[in-house]
């Protein structure tokens, strides 16, 4: 039930806006994340943006996982 999905902010106007997830656009409230900007990725839960996805941290984790994938391929 605590699922939150990364969604891209398309539009914000006075705390309400639109986000896009996998090609679907839906309404979202930014009452809990007022500093979100158009173009940010946010975690969406029950119609509310809860937090910005930290893109630098995401890239760092992906880089680490890519290294592990090379180890994994070497083992396969």
């Amino acid at each position: 039930m605590c699922l939150a999905i990364p969604a891209r902010v398309v539009q914000i106007d006075e705390g309400l806006g639109l986000v896009e997830l996998g090609g679907v656009v839906r309404e979202a409230s930014f009452m809990l994340l007022p500093d979100a900007q158009v173009g940010d990725y946010v975690l969406l839960h029950a119609g509310y943006a809860l937090q910005k996805v930290d893109e630098a941290e995401a890239e760092e984790t992906i880089r680490l996982l890519t290294e592990l994938a090379e180890d994994g391929r070497a083992e396969a």
């Binding site: 605590c2 999905i5 029950a46």
Partner: protein
């Protein structure tokens, strides 16, 4: 697949992580997750099958649907059964059996019960139908509570006089404390819930390594997140460390979301709460503050729910504490199936029993 999801599904990286996990697991280890979304990831992606035998994954009380007591469901049903009232809730709650029936059954019998995606939808329903009382059956952990607080504050700002709540929210760290204090199972590490932590940050778990010496890793929900979280826990164990680490760094800041917490504490205060399987846990629930009592459905409507009753033979309580596994329940897969569930752990798609039933396990 959505960006920031697909990158965390690479099978080669999973093999790399599984090999590392196998290398650093040198004794019997019990890791517990306390979030239903982790339970689902672990089953759906066959993560148990990737792990070496000395490593056991336990599911704790991580699904808000499952830990809601029969008494609370009976109360929601009694409110829904009143005439000229709309009861709105999340879809997950519809099929959960109370003592005698579920919300889905009372809806079939004519009560106005509606499923909403967001608590805001319930506020809009109240705004558009000012003569119709709309009661929101508010269930959820720290992830969901801020959305309900935000919706409530919006209802207040709109001056709505027909919007009400039943708050059966629960808080995760007090339940982890109760599990540690009960000492029924040995827990060597906690996979802490990523989206609860998006809101509360890392500080509320600090007592776990400090007072109980148990490592914690706040973990995301894609399969590679979970494998990496497990690997980080095993490293702490191997190196004799116990601390709170964050694997899910793209979503969780150490300070969480302070604004979300502020809105929650504007509307709610902590209270003791009854959990299925765990009983009453001090300060593990949230009730409306005195200045918001006019939104409290239980105060606004006089209801008299029937005495509660538990389902005979159902082991959901033991399963929620990680003491028993679903196949040890006499009802599992026989009288209790996802089509005809007896207990909530089989109803909820995030329930431990539903996971075992659907995906099996070794």
């Amino acid at each position: 697949m959505v960006r920031y999801v697909r990158e965390f599904h690479d099978p080669a990286a999973a093999r790399g992580l599984a090999a590392t996990i196998e290398r650093i697991t040198n004794r019997s280890v019990n890791l517990m997750e306390v979030c239903g979304t982790h339970t689902v990831t672990i089953f759906r992606h066959g993560i148990r099958q990737l792990l070496p035998p000395p490593l056991s994954m336990l599911s704790g009380p991580g699904c808000p649907v499952c830990v809601t007591t029969n008494a609370d469901i009976d109360k929601a049903i009694a409110l829904a059964e009143q005439s000229k009232v709309t009861l709105a809730t999340f879809g997950d709650m519809m099929k959960v059996p109370g003592s005698y029936q579920s919300l889905q059954q009372v809806k079939a019998d004519g009560s106005d019960v509606r499923v909403v995606y967001s608590p805001r939808d319930a506020v809009c329903m109240a705004r558009d139908n000012p003569r119709q009382p709309v009661i929101f059956f508010a269930v959820g952990f720290e992830t969901t509570v801020p959305t309900i607080a935000a919706a409530l504050l919006e209802a207040e700002a709109l001056g709505l006089k027909n919007f009400y709540l039943i708050s059966v929210h629960k808080l995760i760290p007090p339940a982890m404390l109760a599990l540690l204090e009960a000492r029924e199972v040995r827990i060597d590490g906690f996979i802490c819930p990523g989206h609860v932590s998006v809101v509360i940050g890392s500080q509320p778990y600090e007592f776990i390594p400090q007072q109980y010496g148990v490592p914690c890793v706040i973990t995301g929900f894609e399969p590679l997140d979970v494998l990496q979280g497990i690997e980080m826990l095993l490293r702490q164990i191997a190196e004799g460390r116990a601390e709170v680490e964050i694997q899910y760094r793209r979503g969780v800041r150490p300070e969480g979301n302070p604004l979300a917490r502020e809105l929650v504490s504007r509307a709610f205060e902590t209270s003791d709460a009854d959990w299925r399987g765990l009983g009453c846990i001090p300060n593990s629930g949230l009730k409306l503050r005195a200045e918001y009592k006019r939104f409290d459905a239980e105060q606004a409507f006089a209801i008299n729910p029937p005495p509660t009753k538990e389902h005979k033979g159902c082991l959901c309580g033991d399963i929620l504490r990680g003491v028993k596994t679903p196949p040890e329940c006499p009802l599992f897969a026989e009288t209790c199936t996802p089509e005809r569930p007896v207990g909530p752990c089989m109803v909820s798609s995030e329930g431990t029993c539903a996971g075992w039933y659907q995906y099996g396990s070794r």
